[in-house]
């Protein structure tokens, strides 16, 4: 029999305002096992905790029930209190009589009655509690960052700065991501390349960082501190360590009509290519879909001109296996496809472009060398219409777009509009918006400047239709403030396309058993308090893979993710959560139900030998739980048809005892 102490907290008036705490303490006195039951104004305060410690010593308590706030708030506090007084921390139970009781009830008798019931349930559970000891596992002191955009770059630099080795896996031939494609950055208008490329160089030169470019993660096994990852390094048909990036091969390559993805197909590149001048690593890559040598064995010019002898047409994909202690997801975003938004005539006119295409058109390294020229005829556009929220906040048309706000479009559109007016003052610029959202440091001031100093026409309303006619784009729109229809003859229409997570995110989430929301953004462990951690231990989130973000926010989050990784890698051993599932092998019938429902991949099946009473040996397939991976969600205990699965700390018998106490 346990010797239980019950401690009822007032939480000032938070609890005591609606719950008669003295009555609760009194009522719980007579529950089985309860030796002492008392109340106090603030149980979590130093003197409150001392009260618990004294009671443990005085009454030789073996179990504690604290009737207070949510266990999310102070379970750890009271476990520590118990441990310092010499009893196992897992002998503490919290009855939540604040969030689930006093805060939701207004009537004192009802609140009190419920608090008593919750307290009784906790006492019933503690009666069946057993001391638990968390296990330990070692930590591989190396981090993996998946994605080499600004998020991945910043995370990797910060982790390396703390002295831990980091690998970046980037599926493109170079790191840099979306930021490398941008022209200027809001709200200070510094050039994206000028602030990004030094960081790319830092990554390349840091001896703690390895870059696996043109590579993908194909398999992830293991658990926090001990991930086994397989990386597929695509054949680039160029020896990375030999290529000097001189570019002679690119000049000679006869295949010059390959759509250049870096410029979003607005110009062409060669079949052997370096995506852009500051590419990191600065080595060439052969595109096997276009290279004549790889397709039909005719050509070989690049190999002839390569002084370093770096070309290798026989190169094969390579698989690299590496161990990591932590994984950071930084897979980023893409603008959504405009194919379902034909009302804007994107597929019908070259002069209807997306904002990212506009970035390339205004970028000095872009297809027009930074001159704002129409893609159709190379002329200066004199009237430009920007359409915001194309596919964002699109509740009525969920099959086309996204319900969420893409967050970055208001600011980059203000930037585009302002820069256009600054460089080409003879241009009329219209911006159609639902709302202008500018929450960020110096953001609203920036937008006001676009309107007030640069004379951008901001019009509240949406564009309904864009009709190419001759060399004009007839824009039909509504002005909601004047309540009238507008018709504008535009030369260029720029669509602020909604952003969505990269397509690689979903299969990656499956590999990592990390959870995602319905929009394929990775879910954080807690939306406010644990924003850079995935609910899967050891997996961290950086940048737009978790939700739409601008650069300042991405960099802050990247640093936060890095600090979480550093905190993990700094440990030599990890203490697990002992409240994990375990299987009774004698009861397990090998049905695999638990394995199928486990969201963390913690359950495996093995054939095991059992000695039978008649001394024969029986081989049976039974489940076993890896306690380091198990998060204690309990899904398997429900799925198990034979009752073999049970959860330490939340055993079925304990839950039933609680239910019985409540229903008594």
């Amino acid at each position: 029999m346990q010797r239980i102490g019950v401690f009822v907290c007032w939480c000032g008036t938070n609890i005591a305002g609606t719950v008669d705490v003295k009555a609760v303490a009194e009522a719980l006195k007579n529950e089985p096992g309860v030796i002492v039951s008392t109340d106090y104004q603030y149980m979590c305060s130093q003197s409150g905790q001392q009260m618990i410690k004294d009671a443990i010593a005085e009454h030789k308590l073996t179990g504690i029930v604290v009737c207070s706030c949510s266990p999310r708030m102070h379970e750890t506090t009271f476990r520590k209190t118990a441990a310092s007084a010499g009893i196992n921390p897992y002998m503490v139970e919290i009855a939540n009589i604040r969030e689930q009781c006093s805060w939701v009830h207004k009537d004192m008798p009802i609140g009190t009655e419920k608090a008593i019931i919750l307290g009784k349930a906790a006492v019933a559970k503690v009666n069946l509690n057993a001391p638990l000891t968390p296990g330990e596992s070692p930590v591989t002191k190396r981090a993996l960052v998946i994605g080499g955009g600004i998020a991945g770059i910043q995370t990797a630099l910060d982790i390396a700065d703390a002295g831990f080795p980091v690998d970046i896996v980037e599926k493109k031939p170079t790191i840099g991501g979306k930021m490398a494609q941008l022209d200027k950055t809001f709200p200070t208008l510094d050039c994206a390349a000028c602030i990004l490329t030094p960081k790319m160089v830092d990554v390349a030169q840091n001896d703690k960082i390895r870059i696996f470019s043109y590579s993908e993660v194909t398999d992830v096994k293991g658990f926090v501190g001990n991930f086994d990852v397989t990386i597929r390094k695509h054949a680039r048909y160029v020896k990375e360590d030999v290529c000097t990036g001189c570019g002679a091969c690119i000049e000679k390559c006869p295949m010059k009509k390959v759509p250049n993805e870096f410029n979003l197909g607005m110009d062409n590149r060669t079949a052997i290519y370096i995506p852009f001048a500051q590419a990191t690593p600065k080595v060439a890559t052969i595109d096997p879909n276009y290279c004549n040598m790889l397709k039909n064995g005719k050509c070989g010019l690049c190999a002839k001109v390569c002084a370093a002898g770096a070309i290798d047409y026989t190169q094969k994909d390579e698989f690299i296996e590496e161990k990591y202690g932590a994984i950071v997801v930084a897979t980023g975003f893409n603008p959504i496809s405009m194919e379902k938004f034909d009302e804007y005539a994107y597929s019908q006119s070259k002069d209807v472009i997306t904002s990212l295409e506009f970035e390339r058109l205004t970028n000095a390294a872009g297809p027009t060398a930074g001159k704002l020229l129409r893609p159709s005829d190379g002329k200066h556009p004199h009237t430009i219409v920007f359409v915001q929220c194309v596919g964002s906040r699109c509740e009525a048309c969920a099959e086309k777009g996204k319900e969420y706000c893409s967050k970055i479009c208001c600011m980059y559109t203000a930037k585009h509009a302002m820069l256009t007016r600054d460089k080409y003052p003879d241009t009329d610029v219209y911006v159609f918006y639902i709302d202008v959202r500018t929450p960020g440091k110096n953001f609203d001031e920036f937008y006001r400047r676009a309107v007030e100093e640069y004379g951008v026409h901001y019009i509240k309303g949406m564009v309904g239709k864009v009709t190419p006619e001759g060399d004009k784009l007839k824009v039909q729109a509504s002005d909601l403030l004047l309540n009238k229809q507008l018709h504008i003859d535009a030369d260029l229409v720029v669509l602020a396309a909604a952003i969505e997570p990269d397509k690689s995110a979903r299969p990656l989430a499956t590999l990592l058993t990390a959870s995602m929301d319905t929009n394929d953004f990775f879910t954080e462990a807690h939306p406010k308090l644990r924003p850079v951690e995935s609910p899967t231990a050891g997996v961290f989130l950086s940048g737009a893979c978790q939700g739409p973000k601008d650069i300042p926010e991405t960099v802050s989050q990247a640093g936060a993710a890095a600090s979480k990784v550093i905190g993990l890698l700094a440990k030599d051993k990890l203490t697990g959560n002992p409240c994990v599932a375990h299987s009774d092998e004698m009861m397990c019938n090998g049905c695999s139900s638990c394995e199928r429902v486990c969201p963390y991949g913690a359950i495996t099946y093995n054939d095991k030998e059992f000695r039978m009473p008649d001394r024969t040996t029986l081989i049976r397939r039974v489940a076993s739980v890896n306690p380091a991976v198990c998060q204690g969600c309990g899904a398997c205990t429900v799925a198990c048809p034979s009752g073999a699965m049970d959860l330490h700390g939340f055993a079925s018998s304990q839950i039933m005892a609680e239910v019985d106490a409540i229903c008594k």
Binding site: E339, K340, F341, D342, E343, A345, S347, Q348, E399, K465, V466, T467, P468, E469, G470, K474
Partner: protein, 272 residues
């Protein structure tokens, strides 16, 4: 070698009022072409007007009853219900959708009709164009063309009712459709792409505000012509009426007429 005679496919057919007077060409050639393509259109017995406009007032059932009766007859014969007029199609398909998804509405209709069996939206409603695409196949139509419309630049005019609301109609992408263009290609002509092909012609607004309908219709014709169209083709009698009424100076003909020309069932007269 003996060629196996293909069996005629039977479908129920709802022509609609306009096809019996203003738009007889739409009806006549729909029937002739279907027969030539191996589909037998069996007209619904004693059909009545579809209601003209699908009323969005949820408590209104009177104008929807005739649609339900037609749908029910097709269900009893276990056939899809084929329509050809855009407005009829829109009303019947939306009514069918309401019968299968809005239990309150369906209950009210069934209680009012008080027949032996209830109707719950079981019939498949198919526009004639969908029948051509999905039952016959544009490839097969191409094979059957005897007088290809080679060299003709034809603008498909969808109007607003045929494709919308997309969640119910599910015929084609409402903002960038291709079903009529694909048919035009199968007939050997060249489809003309233009932005206003899925815009409204003004519709019934012509009764109340002729100038607005004129503006809308002219925008369609001008846009089609500037894209190089020599002929405009449509499935909607009201669209055709509005375009012609508001001064279209190129032929506006029904798609069934084009089909009939290419199949050798109609002289190419470009008559209005």
């Amino acid at each position: 070698m003996l060629r196996k005679r293909t069996k005629m496919m039977k479908v129920s057919y709802f022509p609609g009022c306009t096809l019996k007077n203003k738009a007889v060409q739409l009806d006549i050639y729909a029937r002739k072409c279907a027969e030539a393509l191996g589909v037998s259109l069996e007209e619904i017995e004693n059909w009545q007007c579809c209601g003209g406009v699908f009323s969005t007032a949820k408590d209104e059932i009177a104008t929807k009853l005739s649609s339900v009766r037609a749908l029910k007859e097709a269900k009893e014969k276990n056939r899809p219900l084929v329509t050809v007029c855009s407005a009829c199609h829109n009303v019947i398909k939306q009514t069918n959708h309401a019968m299968s998804t809005d239990a309150e509405f369906a209950g009210k209709v069934n209680r009012y009709m008080a027949e032996d069996t209830d109707y719950a939206g079981e019939t498949e409603v198919m526009h004639y164009l969908e029948m051509l695409r999905d039952l016959v196949g544009f490839d097969k139509i191409k094979e059957k063309v005897v007088k290809p419309l080679t060299g003709k630049k034809i603008a498909a005019y969808y109007g607003c009712l045929l494709l919308r609301p997309n969640s119910v109609m599910k015929m084609d992408n409402p903002e960038n459709p291709r079903i009529i263009e694909d048919l035009i290609r199968a007939l050997g002509a060249e489809p003309v792409m233009y932005a206003n092909r899925n815009e409204c012609c003004g519709g019934y607004v012509i009764m109340e505000s002729p100038s607005l309908a004129e503006k809308k219709s002219q925008a369609v014709v001008e846009n089609a012509k500037s894209a190089g169209a020599e002929i405009i083709t449509t499935a909607c009698p009201l669209c055709r009426y509005n375009l012609l009424k508001n001064g279209a100076d190129i032929p506006v003909i029904y798609f069934t007429e084009l089909l009939a020309q290419a199949l050798g069932l109609k002289e190419d007269t470009d008559e209005q």
